[in-house]
């Protein structure tokens, strides 16, 4: 096996690749190449992340003091709403699938493009349309309903730009549906010869499960938002309690999508982790089939638990019990994944490059997030925790500690493939550690303050909670630094980074068998890949074995 340094010394930057194919602006804006579309997404979601992150910074600044003196109430409400809406609909949902997934799925299964390249581009523009609506909301003064848009506040009482906000989420939703549709068809129909279902990388399995959720869940929230929008325009509608409308109905329809959506936000990340752990342990994944099917199980069971957001909403006790029971069950497939990743390390040959640091970070943080999810799934405990900072901490642990970590992990892992350049490894490791430390400092105190009773969406809070909030803000500062580092060294590597070579990590998988960056049609067209071995066929070379 060769080391990274060796690989790079011998590497040359390929003359012909998808980046160099054509250089005009139009060649980017009208491209149907999945790799270029992935790059467009990457740039756009990074901007949205910075925007959402700036709102997070405002939230944390405001919460330094209990008095609510930096922002007035209305402004604060708009800030956390936009933070949530942007982070969820415009960053986290498209994060891994639309960028890394879009780029890699055709490469991983050995085909030239996604099944519907033009629909892929359309999906990007729908996303952009949604983002434009989000910006319109911002420019016209914001929206203050919370990302959950609960009626009747959103439909009748809010004085803000609810209509544009629903349109923003609507457009982003259809973008997400089309991406999922494209993935499923591609995975079913375009696999290279020999690429059977059980030879597929787990990353692809994870995206398959994700896509199912996108197709079957998103349309429901879409129509719900349409109903909300018509109710706003018309002044009367089906959620209006004055004419017998049921506010809880809105919550059902909203969470029918939005709970499964949290798995849209974690499954692709889990796929990334499966790839990275195997590569840096140089082992086949432990329990391949279990990990593969647990993705599907999460997607399917995940559809049956949405009512756990509504234990105190006034839904029936019986419904609450049913939802709670299934919520406990949905933990099991996640458990299977965690245990198998851990077991993969057994008898491996482990190295700690930046992606692996992020992967370890993911494991620790996702565990905390997932396990606190169990506390929330428990009805007895959730009555106390609901709508407190405990919930805020839970979902940041799974979304930021889980998915954002996984996204960064994947980005570091495949950056050489996507751009053909290496970033600075040391800086990568430092940023991984900074993010981990900063993250815990930010959100660990929130569990406590939530248990003590601090409600969420409060910018005026009781004085006894100030110390924990100050800690949290301090942590957020470190966390922000951790994110700014990659924002510097990634772009830098584009110009100054050493050529990566085809396979800098000596990893397995079809994507590593083509050049970095790959040519427009992914592989040498005369010589399309044929698969003859299982996934992750890593071998630990005997001479590295110890003397015993």
């Amino acid at each position: 096996m060769h080391t990274i340094a060796e690989a790079q010394r011998s590497a040359v930057f390929p003359e012909v690749n998808y980046l160099s194919a054509r250089h005009t602006v139009a060649s980017w804006l009208f491209t149907v190449d999945h790799k270029r579309i992935a790059m467009l997404y990457l740039v756009t979601i990074s901007i949205m992340f910075a925007l959402g992150g700036s709102f997070a910074a405002l939230i944390r600044l405001e919460l330094l003091t209990p008095a609510g003196d930096l922002l007035d109430s209305d402004t604060y409400n708009k800030v956390f709403t936009l933070h949530g809406v942007i982070m969820i609909f415009f960053f986290l949902i498209p994060s891994v699938p639309a960028t890394i997934g879009n780029f890699l799925i055709p490469l991983m299964i050995g085909c030239k493009d996604l099944a519907f390249p033009r629909i892929n581009l359309l999906s990007y523009y729908l996303y952009l349309l949604g983002a434009t609506f989000a910006i319109i909301v911002l420019v016209r003064g914001g929206v203050d309903t919370g990302w959950t848009f609960y009626t009747p506040y959103s439909s009748t009482y809010a004085q803000t730009e609810v209509f544009y906000a629903t349109m923003a989420a609507f457009a982003a939703g259809f973008s997400s549906i089309l991406t999922g549709l494209n993935f499923i068809v591609t995975i079913h129909k375009m696999r290279a010869p020999g690429m059977s279902w059980f030879r597929m990388p787990l990353f692809v399995w994870a995206h398959y499960a994700t896509s199912l959720i996108q197709i079957l869940g998103t349309p429901v929230v879409a129509i719900t938002l349409v109903l909300l929008a018509t109710e706003r325009i018309w002044g009367v509608g089906i959620f209006n309690p004055n004419i017998g409308g049921d506010p809880v109905l809105f919550q059902h329809l909203f969470w029918f999508y939005s709970h499964p959506a949290v798995y849209v936000m974690i499954l692709p990340g889990m796929g990334v982790i499966s790839e990275v752990i195997t590569c840096f342990s140089r082992k086949r994944i432990f329990g391949y089939t279990f990990v593969a099917f647990s993705s599907l199980a999460i997607a399917v069971i995940g559809f049956l638990v949405w009512g756990h957001h509504m234990y105190v909403s006034g839904q029936s006790v019986f419904a609450g019990i049913v939802f709670s029971f299934i919520t406990f069950l949905v933990a099991v497939p996640s458990a299977i994944k965690v245990f198998n990743w851990t077991a993969t390390l057994y008898k491996g040959e482990i190295t700690f490059e930046a992606p692996m640091i992020y992967a370890f970070g993911f494991m620790g943080l996702f565990l905390v997030g997932g396990l606190t999810g169990i506390l929330l799934g428990s009805m007895g405990a959730d009555v106390h925790f609901h709508d407190t900072y405990f919930v805020v901490a839970h979902f940041h642990y799974v979304m930021v500690g889980g998915m954002v970590m996984a996204f960064m992990c994947g980005l570091h892992f495949w950056w050489p493939k996507m751009t053909g350049r290496m970033y600075n490894e040391t800086l990568g490791q430092i940023s991984g550690i900074l993010v981990f430390v900063g993250f815990n400092l930010t959100f660990m105190p929130q569990f406590l303050v939530g248990y003590l009773g601090m409600p969420r969406r409060y910018h005026v809070y009781s004085e006894e909670w100030q110390m924990l909030n100050v800690m949290s803000t301090l942590g957020a500062t470190i966390l922000g630094l951790g994110y700014i580092l990659p924002a510097i060294y990634f772009p830098w590597s584009l110009f100054k980074g050493a050529p990566a070579g085809d396979n800098p990590w000596d990893a397995k998988g079809l994507e590593w068998e083509t050049t970095s960056p790959p040519p427009t049609f992914n592989f040498d067209e005369e010589n399309m890949p044929v698969v003859t071995e299982e996934a992750y066929a890593y071998v630990i070379e005997r001479n590295t074995l110890g003397a015993r």
Binding site: F116, M190, I215, P219, I223, E231, W234, I238, I243, D246
Partner: protein
Amino acid sequence: MAHASDSLVAHHFEDIDQQNESAVLGMWLFLAQEILFFGGLFAAYFVYRVKYPDAWAAASSELDIYLGGFNTVVLLVSSFTMAVSVNAAQTGKQQRLMMGMLVTLALGLTFVVVKFFEYKAKWDHGMIPGSGFVYHSTTGDYFAGVNPDQIQLFFCLYFVMTGMHALHMIIGAGLLLWLLALGYNGHFGPHRFMKVELFGFYWHFVDIVWVFLFPMLYLIDRSWMLQG
């Protein structure tokens, strides 16, 4: 089979079969999405029907069963003519294909126009949800005592459901125009009919939605009509 039409295969596909199967699967995934999209509306409908059965029956009786029935016939026939068009495309019967699509288009537009008159009648009777909503019962005292608010709720759903459906019809009509233009230029042949076939799926799907909307909106309880 693939040999005859290699030029029709996009670069990233291996052969025509792979391309066609992908298209069919893709269309069905899109329709699965549509099922859930309308599903949200139907879920709301069921919830309120369970909550307010009397108001639902009373409000339903205010809809014009003749126009609704007529439109059902129109849509069913249009589905048939569309199916025939697909058959014609597959078997290369150019003229029948064009005729079939034209008739389908005409029927589709008829549906929308009739729908427009139904809406207008509701408008004239003040049965449009909003502050001016009034409920004048035309069912005698068969449904006496229902809550007018709940009637209004029904009409909110009625307009959103049929409106969404009509929007799909209008989009369908647009697509048909496009197909007709393609057909006019000799685009279709026995090796090249996927667009027609996929559009057929869409059209039939819209038909299915109506198949549910008609009994659920118009036919909840009509026994009062027999009592004079």
